[in-house]
Symmetry: C2
Subunit: 378 residues, 2 copies
């Protein structure tokens, strides 16, 4: 049976294909204009059809956050894969297996001990790993700061140990905390300059550094120049979400992911409609709570995707969502949203909401829906 | 290969079998002492082996939050199932199918329109549904208040419409917001008294009401008497978690679920170890944030499960957790937790954390691990 939004069971994770395609083209155009390769981060979707669309638009490889993602997409024919999480020594065997089967998997480290572990494992197994050094350009997580002596030491351990020192990468994840184009552009320049400085330090020390890889969705969209950079990465741009809307890099009508839900009851005196999208569907992500506009667990939209101003999921239990006005009580909630009404909820965080579902329901412009599986776990 | 905590890939959702068994026996003893049936809520685990252990200890049926849970556990031989979420009209066909295949599925409504939908569908298909009326005893979500005229009206629509009016049920979910035995016991009495009052109103109006079903983990454990109640329900007690610890109904050494993780790097100057359990593993649940003790994304434990006082996951990205002191900077973080160190993290909310994993790793007292699948989605 050909499903539509009226026949799908709820809750369901609906992807608007026209919006997704525009988002993919927008980011690819941006990378093309900046003169760099584009390597989308597939952790957002974990979905073969989405990644196929990203590659068809011009992506030249992918970024993954787990080796399961690498396994899955290598199985779908993607061979150029950056594993962008610091390499745990116990996973080197898994990485070696992927490489020996023909996957051009790049791995990452940000410490001397991590570099030694890679070199030792490579020697033991007669294998040359392709390694990037993670650079910390904004202090939000992992990486070596561009000026730190450890950078050259890690580079030397890898290079002199016979590994292929491929380059440097950074991720300015603190861009999610900003909300003006100027601030994002300034962070993007900091991300660019820091990674280029790290690359130049390595080269000045006689070490190879072909790749300079940067990116986060906000910085990728607001950066003015990527001089010295070779590669851009971004993930959540493919769907966008309310957090990105508050950051200022998309409008709500560019958000391609929504959760289809059904009204199952009311508490009329409180102005509540109860829906079957609770936190199991939306995820527990409350990323907009600390932003300029708090959308609760999500922005309520009509079935055609139009935001219903002021209506949010104000609370969530596992399989119950509480739909109400964000401010005030709607005395007409029962007649406005009778039991059985279908609505769509824009999520705070597309990566977290998508992960709650075994599949996306891909909604074409003609209203028909195809089921696209996504994978789960490690 | 027989896995142990040293051979599992990370992150992994580890269930301590001795702790789980003690939790199961504790709640079953409580129901037995109170003289009521016990119907565990399986939404916490969605795992056949856990539910088998609950049934072996004396549970006389199960509670589910989705019809997929009903499908799955009916497939495992459980026939007595309460679907404890208000019935959406579009799901009546699914419920009918389960009942026609031999599942004694009870369904729920809290409105006149919902009751009419059930009656109409039952008439059309020549089927008598077994229906409970949801009672609101604490204002936290769905249900009809015990004294509301709608209660009798819903009862009459169902009964006179030829459905089997089985009884009433309530869930005092606001118990999660309490933290003293006296306050929980008072809410438990409110839950009991409200549901019994509703049952008595129905009976006084000449309507049947055999079942009076109540419960939440905190109220179930603190209630002194269940006079007039026939059935107790609880879910998260089987694993417990840090939220329940803050509520005051378990100690940390009764928490049966933890996330096994590996240290993958450090930011020494900040006192951070980076681990491979981010929010994708822990979930985005920050349930302890508004409680007396905020554990961040979880309490850090050594590999044997001993809490390491003061160390929490203070931050989380998708596949990165930031492990640090909750207060202050540990200048020895790199030597204390070298790269490759394996740790276990107690979660805020066992229902949310479990849902992030395709399987539990069931850890026996002898240190061996079996993989127990859990299902995902709707």
């Amino acid at each position: 049976m050909q499903n539509t939004l009226l026949t799908l069971d709820t809750p369901a994770a609906v992807v608007s294909l026209p919006r997704m395609q525009l988002n993919i083209e927008r980011m690819q155009r941006q990378a093309d204009a900046l003169g760099v390769r584009f390597r989308p981060h597939v952790k957002t979707t974990k979905c073969a059809e989405v990644v196929a669309a990203q590659c068809a638009a011009g992506a030249t490889g992918i970024t993954v956050s787990t080796l399961k993602e690498a396994d899955q997409f290598f199985g779908h024919g993607v061979t150029d894969i950056l594993y962008a999480v610091g390499m745990a020594p116990h996973r080197l065997g898994h990485a070696l297996d992927l490489r020996q089967r023909g996957c051009a998997l790049q791995i990452l480290t940000d410490s001397v001990e991590g570099a030694h572990a890679i070199v030792d494992y490579g020697h033991t197994h007669g294998h040359v790993f392709e390694v990037l050094i993670e650079i910390d350009t904004d202090g939000h997580r992992s990486g070596i700061k561009p000026g730190e002596p450890a950078l050259l030491e890690v580079g030397r351990v890898l290079h002199e140990g016979g590994m292929q020192l491929a380059g440097v990468m950074t991720h300015a994840g603190s861009s999610y905390e900003l909300n003006t184009p100027a601030a994002i552009a300034a962070l993007a320049e900091q991300e660019r300059a820091g990674s280029v400085l790290a690359a130049e330090s390595l080269r000045a020390a006689g070490l190879p550094c072909a790749v300079v890889s940067v990116g986060s969705t906000p910085t990728a969209l607001e950066v003015a120049s990527l001089e010295g950079v070779t590669e851009l990465r971004a993930g959540v741009y493919v769907f966008f979400d309310l957090v990105m809307h508050n950051v200022g890099v998309c409008s709500t009508d560019q958000i391609a992911l929504s959760v289809l839900t059904t009204v199952i009851g009311h508490q009329a005196d409180k102005g509540w409609a109860i829906v079957d999208a609770g936190w199991m569907a939306m995820s527990r992500d409350r990323g907009t709570a600390k932003q300029s506009h708090d959308y609760g667990y999500g922005q309520v939209c009509s079935l055609d995707g139009t935001p219903l101003e002021g209506y949010v999921l104000s609370g969530a239990n596992q399989e119950h969502g509480i739909l109400s006005l964000a401010n005030g009580v709607d005395g007409d909630i029962v007649t406005r949203f009778p039991t059985g009404t279908r609505l769509r909820i824009l999520p705070n965080h597309a990566c977290a909401t998508g992960a709650q579902f075994p599949a996306y329901e891909a909604l074409a412009g003609d209203g028909t829906v195809q089921t696209w599986e996504r994978f789960h776990g490690w």
